[in-house]
């Protein structure tokens, strides 16, 4: 009798958990499906490679794609060396102390700064004070602050995941610290570091509030880093809020999601391949 009650509770609880798990899938499916169904008809070579035109922003979204990739790539270029070296410091050189605690706290804080705050910060510092104006470079700099803690953390984790025995092995063979770090530790952590960078780039691609205030909203094909541009997210936001060209909005949303998915999937693939190679 009691045992039956126990089994019943168990079964009910398990059902609830199944529901929770499947809900997430359903939601994701709904979001993707909705965007896909409504947007797939829109996407074509023309949509991707032509400029928007006409009263209702007909045509393609090419400048926004370029601006998005431009600003993201530039941000990656800026952030990668700094973040990786910072992580090397934290993981390999730092001794636990106030300095390290401060750095970690700052990194955590930076990671949790709302993107709108980062946007206003970029506006105040890069756009206005430094006079870069609404431009790709302002956007990239602001985004790089957004990405910095993410890349730093994943890189540090990647470095720390390299077993200490491996370091000892290197020291034991008569390697100096830098030799050990550069020849053994970083290569060992490389694929996880790259994964981290890609993931953070995916986040940058999907970012709106930062770029809207740093790169501007103008539809323009940026060439120089000082050119303004409109990212895909901003474009989507404007199309959605204007409600003037919903098919284009769906198309943009779909492309945007495809891009973010591509970043995510390639990161996962890298990680899995790496796991297989080392496993």
């Amino acid at each position: 009798m009691k045992r039956d009650a126990k089994n019943l509770t168990n079964a009910a609880a398990l059902a609830v958990f199944w529901l929770a798990g499947l809900t997430t899938v359903v939601v994701l499916g709904a979001v993707i499906g909705y965007v896909l169904v409504n947007g797939v008809g829109e996407i074509g070579l023309e949509f991707i490679f032509t400029n928007p035109h006409g009263v209702n922003a007909e045509g393609g979204i090419w400048p926004t794609i370029v601006a998005t990739l431009y600003v993201t790539g530039l941000a990656m270029l800026i952030v990668t060396p700094v973040a990786v070296l910072a992580a090397v410091y934290l993981a390999e050189y730092a001794v636990q102390g106030r300095l390290v605690r401060t750095i970690r706290f700052a990194a955590d804080t930076l990671a949790s700064v709302p993107s709108i705050v980062m946007g206003l910060f970029g506006l105040a510092l890069f756009v206005e004070s430094m006079g870069f104006g609404f431009s790709v470079i302002s956007g990239a700099l602001a985004l790089s602050f957004l990405m910095l803690p993410i890349v730093m953390r994943t890189t540090e984790e990647a470095i720390r995941a390299v077993p200490k025995y491996i370091r000892w092995g290197s020291y034991g063979l008569g390697a100096s610290k830098w030799q050990t770090v550069s020849r053994v530790v970083l290569p060992a952590a490389a694929s996880r570091i790259i994964t981290g960078i890609i993931l953070s780039a995916g986040r940058a691609v999907g970012e709106t509030a930062v770029v809207i205030f740093t790169m501007g909203t103008m539809i323009n094909l940026p060439v120089l880093p000082t050119d303004p541009g409109r990212s895909m997210t901003v474009h989507l936001y404007q199309l959605a809020m204007e409600g003037i060209n919903m098919p284009a909005a769906f198309g943009t949303a779909l492309l945007l999601m495809a891009m973010v998915l591509a970043f995510n999937l390639s990161a996962r693939w890298l990680l899995r391949r790496n796991r297989r190679m080392q496993g």
Binding site: H53, G54, V55, N56, G133, G216, M218, I219, M241, E242
Partner: protein, 256 residues
């Protein structure tokens, strides 16, 4: 030109989302006619456009309202480019077909909250307002509310199209958009018994109408001047402006 230095081959146009379509299509035509020239257009709302042109970050500020307050002090030059009427729209399923200007004012100030008070069904009124950056809102406020306060609890949407689509979906909604954006999805109400139409606007019978502006800092020069001229050309005025649902500046002149 004060403010920031623009590249010589750029015209930066920011401001009203109402004017946005005219500006964008004009940009395409202008760029085609002037290869190598870039016209950068962004729709950020009338106030922002004016702000930008004052700050010098834009060459042209587009606006769906007149200058107000301090804005007039900066020596901006106004070029009217089209007429627009503001239609008060409701869901097509709404049996109400017309309101008085007073009723509209009361609704948008939150004094009338149920459709039955204006002869409709017993249904709470869903007021859709525009954001403060909006020139449409500015004009609406001036014409209908006599600059009195809007109901602060109303939904605020930052775009014309959004207002239209919300009203199109929600049976209880009421909003206002440029006459040019009215489609069969929504129903434009007669105000004080006058249905919004070009004739009614041109004739002055429809009470909620306004002028769309280009503001420049000083008289337009160079490329900017050429762009303004292009927008005023019959090509744009008769084709684009009308296509976008506005009434050309030339129309009233003609009509008068």
């Amino acid at each position: 030109n004060g403010g920031r230095q623009h590249a010589a081959d750029q015209v930066i146009v920011t401001g009203s989302t109402t004017v946005q379509p005219i500006a964008e299509v004009s940009k395409e035509g202008f760029e085609k006619a002037h290869p190598g020239i870039h016209v950068l257009v962004s729709g950020v709302g009338s106030s922002a456009g004016i702000e930008n042109v004052i700050a010098g970050t834009s060459d042209i500020g587009t606006s769906s309202r007149d200058l107000k307050g301090d804005e007039a002090k900066h020596g901006l030059v106004d070029t009217p480019i089209a007429y627009d009427a503001i239609a008060v729209i409701v869901n097509p399923s709404n049996p109400v077909n017309g309101l008085t200007k007073e009723q509209v004012k009361a609704i948008f100030q939150g004094r009338i909250t149920n459709w039955k008070e204006v002869g409709g069904p017993d249904m709470e009124i869903g007021v859709v307002n525009r954001d403060e950056a909006s020139g449409t809102r500015e004009a609406f406020s001036k014409i209908v509310l006599d600059k009195e306060r809007f109901d602060p609890t109303a939904v605020i949407l930052p775009g014309t199209g959004q207002v239209r689509s919300v009203v199109a979906q929600a049976p209880s909604a009421i909003g206002y958009i440029s006459l040019g954006f009215v489609t069969p999805e929504v129903k434009a109400l007669a105000i004080d018994g006058v249905a919004p139409s070009e004739e009614a606007v041109v004739s002055g019978a429809y009470p909620i109408s306004r002028v769309l502006h280009f503001f420049t800092k000083g008289e337009p020069t160079g490329l900017v001047k050429e762009f303004v001229a292009y927008v005023l050309s019959p090509d744009v005025q008769d084709r684009v402006v009308r296509e976008a649902g506005f009434i050309p500046v030339t129309a009233r002149g003609d009509g008068l």
